[in-house]
């Protein structure tokens, strides 16, 4: 995992997409620039300019630690005034530390060139600070505002001093010193870096944090590793180093920050919300970061896709809809998967390229790795195709077939969970299932079995048969179909009603739908609730206890009315007979149905109902046409 992140980091560094080592994007921009000149030591100009650029970062919290040539006004200018009133007690200490760091930079052999040395010397002098306080604008400068020092003449005109390569090198050396862990005799702890394998100075921490909701450290350096107790042996607390050199750790953190800040590489899989409020440090939140090993163009049929387009399409199974909007469409991905993929050039083999996916979760002030997926592009295509093919199912109106993304599946399962009160709809679902679903989609592993139980239970929630819940029902059925047919036979046949399917659950489900149709026709569709809402649960779990009564009632109560009113008696009678015959051949109504059979029941019921709905819609359309023709 680290190897792949470092490879990406090095690629991004050569492309100039990463900030320099030890640099970080802050939430607040640099607010002030102090312009100085070499030739006029008394020249000072204060400029208010929001500058959103990466800056040196040492990971300080309440400690007093300075950054070179750019820092908070408390450090650079000795400004004590705080926002909202009050003064900073540590300002004297802070400023002293800032000046000390600049003097150290002045003495450092890494700061080369007379002009830069002179600039650093001027930057640390007291003279210009007195002049700053005389300027009108300086009254608006607050303790926490960031201030950068710039020279208006000389070879680095209008470039902030901290951005100069020599100053960056000095900062890297300073950072290595600050992050090193010493032995009791004051020597740096040396060791082999677990990432680059080089014999290096071991870091006790990596200063650059990774930004998910809020910045937090990825590496678990804040704790010693857990060692089992051995009698007579002790491990001294707080002695463990990170096992990494600071450069490798820093590259990983900067690379992850690049990914989390780029919409092309970053998706939220699950969020933990309590009463609508986002809980940012909960491990239930999951973030997927993904990228390709090589930036190759690939050919999908006749279309040539650039890496970003490919990534966008491949990650579309992780797209989620906003509140009250329809689920995202996977059509583009489906089209892309139906044609074979090749490299754009004959020499490029797509099997050599890979798709990487890292799932991170915040966990109480640090970041935990939840999952790591690594798959070659040729296998990715096959697995994604299998994932979507297994899901594809007709909608409740029998009109179009479609598939859904992972967040939508989780959302549908959670939203209709029978154990939750109907009004308590969870926005995004169970994070434990999401990891496994991602594995199903990208690695081709079996879908999580826990989802079968949840989805089956969702169908027992009477609210699911509400007319407004059509999409949820559609997603749940797609999920059940995937659970039953992923990489198995019957994937294609079960997209619509398969009258040849002899699975007992499927037949019972169909029978319930036919009985419901009989009830609806007998009442001329003028009833609000049907037998389904009352009997679905028992019919799907213990058919023998329910169907005898239901079939008898239908034959004595509903079918005579349908026959009298000429509402398709023959057709319905034929359907019920064929299903009952099939059930008899399969051994009659089963006493109980297993979980998988219950899923089959749901699918049989759904398909049969969709078929009736489709016919009804067609009939209504025909009626309307006839009416309009008569009027004309």
């Amino acid at each position: 995992m680290f190897k792949e992140i470092i490879e990406l980091g090095k690629r991004l560094e050569t492309e100039g997409k990463l900030p320099p080592p030890g640099f970080y994007y802050y939430g607040q921009p640099i607010k002030w620039k102090i312009h100085l000149r070499h030739c006029h030591p008394n020249f000072v100009y204060v400029e208010e300019i929001p500058l959103d650029k990466p800056r040196p970062f040492c990971g300080r919290t309440s400690r007093v630690e300075a950054h070179p040539c750019v820092d908070e006004a408390g450090y650079v200018l000795h400004v004590a005034k705080q926002r909202g009133g009050g003064n900073d007690d540590k300002v004297k200490e802070k400023h002293k530390e800032f000046v000390r760091l600049l003097r150290k930079a002045y003495r450092s052999p890494l700061i080369k060139g007379k002009e830069l040395k002179s600039a650093v010397w001027i930057a640390q002098s007291k003279q210009w600070r007195r002049l700053v306080s005389q300027q009108v604008k300086s009254k608006n400068i607050l303790n926490k505002d960031w201030v950068a020092i710039v020279f208006n003449d000389g070879p680095f005109e209008d470039t902030s001093l901290y951005e100069l390569p020599d100053m960056q090198q000095f900062w890297q050396k300073e950072l290595r010193e600050r992050t090193r862990q010493d032995t009791e005799t004051g020597k740096a702890k040396m060791g082999v870096c677990s990432i680059c394998g080089e014999y290096q100075q071991m870091a006790k921490k990596i200063p650059v944090w990774v930004k998910l909701f809020k910045p937090a450290p990825l590496h678990s350096y804040n704790k010693d590793s857990f060692v089992s107790y051995i009698e007579g042996i002790q491990v001294f607390e707080g002695k463990a180093h990170l096992g990494q050199c600071v450069i490798c750790g820093d590259t990983i953190a900067r690379t992850l920050n690049y990914l989390t800040g780029n919409i092309l590489h970053y998706k939220i899989i699950a969020q933990d919300r309590h009463k609508g409020k986002l809980i940012t440090d909960s491990a239930q939140n999951q973030f997927a970061l993904f990228w390709l090993k090589d930036k190759q163009f690939i050919k999908a049929g006749e279309t040539i896709l650039d890496p970003s387009e490919l990534l966008r399409n491949v990650s579309s199974v992780m797209d989620r809809s906003e509140k009250n909007t329809p689920p995202p469409d996977t059509k583009q991905l489906e089209n892309m998967l139906t044609v074979p993929w090749t490299g754009r050039d004959a020499s490029v083999n797509i099997a050599d390229n890979a798709f990487y996916l890292l799932i991170l979760s915040p966990n109480k002030g640090r970041i935990a790795v939840r999952d790591w997926l690594d798959i070659s592009l040729d296998k990715l295509q096959q697995n994604l195709k299998a994932f979507l093919d297994a899901q594809r199912i007709i909608d409740p109106d029998g009109k179009e077939k479609r598939c859904f993304g992972i967040p939508e599946i989780l959302k549908a399962v959670e939203a209709s969970n029978i154990s939750k009160e109907p009004h308590k709809v969870v926005e995004i679902g169970n994070p434990n299932v999401s990891c496994q679903l991602l594995r199903t989609a990208y690695l081709g592993e079996s879908p999580p079995s826990v989802l079968l139980e949840s989805a089956v239970m969702c169908m027992r929630n009477p609210k699911i048969f509400d007319e407004k819940k059509k999409t949820t029902r559609h997603i749940l059925m797609a999920t059940l179909k995937m659970l039953l047919t992923h990489k198995k036979e019957g994937m294609k046949e079960m997209e619509t009603l398969d009258t040849n399917r002899k699975a007992i659950g499927h037949l019972c489900g169909r029978l319930l739908s036919i009985l419901e149709e009989a009830q609806l026709r007998a009442a001329r569709w003028k009833i609000n609730t049907t037998l389904v809402e009352r009997f679905y649960g028992s019919a799907s779990s213990a058919p023998a206890s329910v169907f005898g009564t239901l079939v008898r009632r239908a034959t004595t109560d509903h079918f005579p009315k349908i026959r009298k009113q000429q509402l398709g008696y023959k057709d319905l009678e034929a359907q019920i007979e064929s299903v009952e015959t099939a059930i008899d051949q399969a051994g009659g109504y089963p006493k109980t149905l297993s979980l998988k059979e219950q899923a089959e029941f749901s699918l049989g019921f759904y398909h049969q109902r969709a078929k009736f709905n489709e016919k009804r819609k067609v009939n209504k359309q025909n009626d309307k046409k006839e009416e309009s023709n008569e009027q004309q």
Partner: protein, 237 residues
């Protein structure tokens, strides 16, 4: 003759070969590390007079990962009981572990300098393999993931072919270095002439890594890494 080669088939439902870079919220390497293989063999049979040197690890089952979250204790267990009701003593941590693993370990039992009676050790280990006896329960990386073991027949075929899988830097083993300037850990040091010749030394642990690649389902361990390890520890086989 100062060494003997064994092939041992091991497996279990779960395994966690922790990457030292992610040691608290644990993340496993995709394949068993040589250090874990050594630990497993030492759980079955070990004497101060020899060392286990791992030569190859053959991956028999496909690499499957699973993410779990557990309520763990913050402190290691000692003589005093830990009150787990107190939230201060508990932490909810995630682990990325392996599921359903099976390996064949090819390992050498290498005698230390001055020890001759290898046949006795070979017999004892072979007997333990046959009867399934062990000193303490063998485990796959961490103690909660117990392992089963048996003697390999030599015709074990992998369930899926892993042609080439570069893992990157992988933990080879830990060198326990006695050093008065770095007192980070106490550990037992054994003399190799008498089994009772044991003392507690003070020093530090230093990890040794190697560039791991699984080729045709086999992770080959470079033998020269053992020389590096012994050089660090100041012990010569």
């Amino acid at each position: 003759m100062n060494k003997a080669t064994f092939h041992i088939k091991v497996g279990g439902d779960y395994a966690c070969f922790t990457n030292p870079g992610l040691k608290v919220e644990r993340c496993t390497y995709p394949v068993m590390t040589p250090a874990a293989a050594r630990g497993l063999l030492e759980a079955i049979y070990w004497k101060p007079q020899f060392r286990w040197e791992i030569r190859e690890i053959k991956v028999l089952k496909p690499i499957k990962q699973i993410s779990i979250m557990r309520n763990e204790l913050n402190e290691r267990q000692g003589k005093n009981p830990i009150i787990i009701d107190d939230p201060k003593n508990r932490a909810q941590r995630t682990s990325l572990i392996l599921k359903d693993v099976e390996y064949v370990i090819k390992a050498d039992l290498v005698l230390k300098e001055g020890i001759n009676n290898i046949m006795g050790y070979i017999d004892q280990f072979a007997r333990k393999l046959k009867t399934g006896q062990y000193h303490h329960t063998p485990y796959l990386g961490t103690r909660e993931f117990a392992a089963w073991f048996e003697s390999a027949t030599g015709d074990e075929e992998p369930e899926c072919i892993i042609k080439e899988y570069p893992i990157g830097q992988m933990l080879f083993d830990s060198a326990y270095i006695e050093d008065n300037e770095r007192k980070e850990i106490d550990f037992h040091l054994h003399g190799h002439t008498h089994s009772n010749d044991k003392r507690v030394a003070r020093g530090y642990q230093s990890a040794v890594y190697f560039d791991a690649i699984v080729e045709n389902n086999i992770l080959k361990i470079p033998p020269k890494k053992y020389l590096e390890l012994y050089e660090k520890e100041g012990v010569h086989v």
